[in-house]
Symmetry: C2
Subunit: 107 residues, 2 copies
């Protein structure tokens, strides 16, 4: 046990849950907010800014990249991580569709 039984859910349900899951950590929320405020980003800033070890930040960035929310470009010897606006809007739209469709009630 301990494994999520993804095979009993639809692809849409698994995808939605995956987006939510990646966003479900305060460090990743903070990273997105910081990058957004900077309008540019170098990873070493994040380590100071967030207060987690460099390895840990790098790991969180990887997860944000895994769902396409961030794109990273090499810029000299550092990295420029940016929010992928298209993907960002796409995910926001999918989450809103879920929220709007799941609104009916009984009590």
């Amino acid at each position: 046990m301990g494994v999520t039984k993804t095979e009993i859910f639809t692809g849409q349900q698994n995808d939605l849950a995956q987006f939510f899951k990646v966003l479900g950590h305060p460090a990743r929320v903070a990273i997105l907010q910081y990058i957004s405020n900077q309008n540019a980003c170098i990873c070493s800033d994040l380590v100071e800014e967030i207060g987690l070890a460099q390895a840990t930040i790098s790991q969180h960035l990887k997860e944000l990249k895994s769902i396409g929310l961030l794109k990273g470009e090499i810029e000299g010897k550092s990295m420029c991580y940016c929010i992928n606006i298209e993907r960002w809007s796409q995910i926001q739209h999918q989450l809103n569709t879920f929220f709007n469709k799941t609104k009916s009630n009984c009590c």
Copy 2:
């Protein structure tokens, strides 16, 4: 280790992450969708519908209740779990605010 360092993040960041986290499991997404489609809900239906053990469903329901998304009323010897519309809209609004505020970019 293994503990999220919530103390280094703001309350808002932790709250946001908590909402996302609770929604970050396909069973919980499926439960919300099913309840919404039924416009009413009895837990035993969910066990058949979702395909997880009764104890597991009960646990997921508890997590959805923990952020106020579901409210449960005792109805005879069964339970009527319903989506808390007010809370639902409130959380949707908060997530959208986050998405809209975190949209700027550099590349």
